[in-house]
Amino acid sequence: MLDQPFDVARSFGSHFVITANTTDAGVPVYLRADTTWSTSLHEAHAVQSESERDALLDAARTQERDVCDPYAFKVNVERGSAVATTTRERIRSQGPTTPLRRADAAHG
C-alpha cells in the first residue's frame, strides 16, 4: 500500500475510482464515466489500470472550480457497482454512523 502514489488513498480492491468533495458544500462525490460527478459511489466509473486511473484523475483536476482535492482509491466491483472496501470510504459514501444531536428528548 505504501508504494501507492500520493493522490491514491491507502485502500485495497480490484479497481480504482476517483472522488473529491464539492466546493460549495464539501459533499463527497464520485467521477462518472462521462466525467460528471455523482454523490453515489455506485455510479462511480471503476477502472482497473493505472493509466485509466491517471487519465480520470487528470479529467477531475480540470474541474477544481467545482470540486476540491480529487484523489483515487481502490474498490471492489460487485454486480457492476463500486463498493468501498475501507471503513473510511464506506462512511464517507454513506454518512456518519452515529445519531446527530438534532432531536431533543423533551422539546423535539
Binding site: 485495497f12 468533495n21 466546493t23 460549495d24 458544500a25 464539501g26 459533499v27 463527497p28 477544481e64 472550480r65 476540491c68 482535492d69 472496501t85 475501507t86 471503513t87 473510511r88 462512511i91 464517507r92 454518512g95 456518519p96 454512523t97 452515529t98 445519531p99 446527530l100 444531536r101 438534532r102 432531536a103 431533543d104 428528548a105 423533551a106 422539546h107
Partner: protein, 551 residues
C-alpha cells in the same frame, strides 16, 4: 467577561469582510483550492469527510448568553441543528456550506467572536480553568492574562507560520483543571518565597504521536515579563524547531532533543535582548485589560446546607448535587456542570434549542454566561445555591441534567472516523456503547471519579494519553481496532497512560473497559482508593491478568 474595544471589533469585522471576498473568488473559480486552502484554514474552515467544518474560537471557554444564542442561530440556520464542544474549549460546526461561511463570520463578529487562528501552524486559543475567577484555591483570576496572550498572539507577524500549531494553557489555582502540563506552554500563577506574584512557566508538553509531560523552563517569572518571555520561547522554537518532519515539528520534540537546560539557556539569551522592550507589561496595562472584564456582581448570601438538602430531596437531584455541583469561592453560590453526555448522545454535541435554553438559563440563574470545559461539558459558574433545585428542574426538561460529571460515562471523545479526515477509527459509536453498558448510576457512583478519554487516531484530540482509561482507535489492516491504556492523568501529578497489551476489536473494547473497571472495583483497598491511586499502587499487572489471562 471581556468586552471588545474598538480595535478588537475592527479586527474581526475586517477579517470577516476579507474572507467574504476570498470565498466569492473561490466560488467564482478565480482562485484554486490550493490557493484557497491556506486562507480558509486561517479562518478555521476545514474540509472533513462529509462537509466543511468551521471551528469557532471561544477564548478560554467563556461564552455570554448573547454568544450562545448566536451559536444556536448558526446551528439552526446554517448547520444541521447542533454544535460540537471541543477539548480545547472551542465550538465546531460540522455541516456549513461555503457560501454561508461569510454570513456566519459576520454573525460571530456581531457578538465579539471569530474563527481566527483556530487552525494552522500558529498560536491557537489559550485555554484555562473552567473555575477561573471563582475557584476557592485560586491565587488570581488567569483570564486577564489569557486575554493579554490572545491580543498579543492574534496576527502576530512573527508567529503566523510556526513549525507546527502551538497551544498555551493557564491556571491560577493549585489544582490543575486546565491540563497545563500537556500543552506546548503551560503557565501557573504562583507566589515566590517572598510572596511576590508571578508565573511558573512549563514548556514542551503535548499529546499526539509523541506524548510528553511539560518541563519547567522558568520556576518564577515576574508578571511584567509574561509576554516578552513567551515571545522569547516562540522565537527559539520558530528559529530552531524542526520543519523537516511534520511529526517532529512540535516544541515538545525540540525540548526533548535539546534537553530543557539547553532550551532554557537559549530562551534566556533571547529574552535578555527583549525583556524591557514594548512587550513589557505595566500594571496599568493589566488593569486596563481587567477593567474590560465585566465581572459579575455577587449578592451577600450565606451558604446553604447542601448536604442536608441532598438528604431530604429526591435521589436524582441528590445525585446531581453530589456529582455536578462545584464549590464557589463566594458564599451562597455554586458552579454547575451541565453534562452534554446523556445516554445515546455524542459527547460534546448540543442542539440549537439546547443552546438557546442554556442562554436563557444562564440569564436566569447564572449571571449571564457559561464556560465551555475542556472535557466537552458546559459549566454554569455563578448559580445561587438556593436556585440549584429550580435550575436542575429546567435542565431536566432540556435533557441537560445528566448527573455523570466525573463519572465513567462523562467521556471525552473526539469526532473520530464518522467525521474527521484524519481519523483511523470511529470513536463516537464506542462512547455510545460504553454509555449504554454503564447505565447503572449507583455502580458509577461506587466507582467514583474515573475518566475515559478516547481518540480516533494518534493525533489525540480526545486526550487518550491522559485518561485514567485511554482508548486509541487504530486501523489494523483496514479494520478498526482499539488500544487500551491505563493510568493517564492531566493534573498536578500528570502522567501518561500505558498500553495494557494487544489491541481489541470493536466488538471487544466495551467488554475490555468493563473488565478494567471490575478489576479495580474488586481489588481496590477501600472505596476511598481512587482508580488512579489503585493503578499507581498496583501497576498494570492485575489489569493484564484480567484482560488477557494466559494469552
Amino acid at each position: 467577561m471581556y468586552q471588545y474595544d474598538q480595535h478588537d471589533q475592527r479586527i474581526v469585522d475586517e477579517r470577516a469582510a476579507q474572507f467574504r471576498g476570498q470565498v466569492e473568488r473561490r466560488l467564482a473559480g478565480e482562485i484554486t483550492e490550493n490557493e484557497f486552502k491556506p486562507l480558509r484554514l486561517q479562518n478555521g474552515l476545514y474540509m472533513q469527510l462529509h462537509a466543511y467544518m468551521l471551528r469557532v474560537a471561544v477564548p478560554y471557554g467563556l461564552l455570554s448568553s448573547a454568544q450562545l444564542r448566536a451559536l444556536a442561530t448558526i446551528a439552526r440556520d446554517y448547520d444541521k441543528g447542533y454544535a460540537h464542544f471541543t477539548t480545547r474549549q472551542n465550538v465546531q460546526f460540522n455541516w456549513p456550506e461555503l457560501e454561508d461561511v461569510p454570513a456566519i463570520l459576520d454573525l460571530l463578529a456581531s457578538v465579539q467572536m471569530h474563527a481566527i487562528q483556530t487552525s494552522g501552524n500558529c498560536i491557537r486559543n489559550t485555554t484555562s480553568d473552567p473555575l477561573a475567577g471563582i475557584a476557592a484555591d485560586e491565587l488570581e483570576d488567569p483570564r486577564p492574562y489569557c486575554e493579554l496572550i490572545r491580543q498579543w498572539s492574534t496576527f502576530h507577524p512573527e508567529f503566523a507560520f510556526l513549525p507546527r500549531k502551538f497551544k498555551i494553557a493557564i491556571t491560577g489555582s493549585t489544582t490543575d483543571r486546565a491540563a497545563v502540563r500537556v500543552h506546548d506552554i503551560g503557565i501557573r500563577i504562583i507566589e515566590n518565597d517572598t510572596g511576590e506574584r508571578g508565573f511558573e512557566i512549563l514548556v514542551g508538553g503535548g499529546l499526539g504521536r509523541t506524548p510528553h509531560i511539560a518541563k519547567v523552563v522558568r520556576p518564577f517569572l515576574a508578571y511584567e515579563h509574561l509576554l516578552s518571555y513567551l515571545e522569547a520561547i516562540l522565537r527559539v522554537y520558530n528559529r530552531y524547531g524542526r520543519r523537516d518532519n511534520k511529526y517532529k515539528a512540535r516544541i515538545k520534540i525540540q525540548v526533548s532533543e535539546w534537553g530543557v537546560e539547553k532550551f532554557a539557556a537559549a530562551v534566556e539569551a533571547e529574552w535578555a535582548q527583549i525583556k524591557d522592550s514594548a512587550t513589557k507589561l505595566t500594571r496599568d496595562e493589566i488593569d486596563r485589560i481587567k477593567g474590560r472584564f465585566a465581572l459579575p456582581t455577587f449578592e451577600a448570601l450565606a451558604n446553604e446546607d447542601l448536604d442536608a438538602l441532598a438528604l431530604t430531596t429526591d435521589r436524582e437531584f441528590a445525585r446531581f448535587l453530589k456529582n455536578n455541583v462545584r464549590q464557589h469561592r463566594v458564599p451562597g453560590y455554586a458552579a454547575v456542570v451541565v453534562s452534554t453526555k446523556p445516554q445515546g448522545r455524542p459527547p460534546g454535541d448540543v442542539s440549537d434549542t439546547q443552546l438557546d435554553a442554556l442562554a436563557d438559563l444562564a440569564d436566569r440563574f447564572g449571571l449571564g454566561h457559561v464556560v465551555v470545559m475542556h472535557d466537552q461539558n458546559v459549566m454554569m459558574p455563578n448559580v445561587k445555591q438556593a436556585d440549584l433545585q429550580a435550575l436542575y428542574a429546567e435542565l431536566k426538561t432540556w435533557d441537560l441534567h445528566t448527573a455523570n460529571a466525573g463519572r465513567v460515562t462523562d467521556q471525552i471523545c473526539c469526532p473520530g472516523l464518522d467525521f474527521c479526515n484524519l481519523a483511523n477509527a470511529r470513536s463516537i459509536p464506542v462512547a455510545l456503547r460504553i454509555a449504554d453498558r454503564f447505565d447503572d448510576l449507583d455502580y458509577l457512583d461506587d466507582l467514583g471519579d474515573v475518566t475515559i478519554k478516547m481518540s480516533g487516531c494518534i493525533n489525540a484530540c480526545g486526550h487518550h494519553h491522559v485518561g485514567n482509561i485511554g482508548i486509541l482507535g487504530i486501523d489494523k489492516a483496514g479494520v478498526e481496532a482499539y488500544q487500551l491504556m491505563i493510568g493517564g492523568d492531566p493534573g498536578e501529578q500528570a502522567s501518561l497512560g500505558k498500553i495494557v497489551g494487544r489491541a481489541f476489536s470493536s466488538d471487544e473494547i466495551v467488554d475490555a473497559v468493563a473488565t478494567v473497571l471490575d478489576t479495580y472495583s474488586t481489588l481496590r483497598e477501600s472505596a476511598d482508593e481512587t482508580f488512579l491511586d489503585f493503578y499507581r499502587r498496583v501497576g498494570l499487572d492485575p489489569f493484564k491478568d484480567s484482560l488477557y489471562g494466559s494469552d
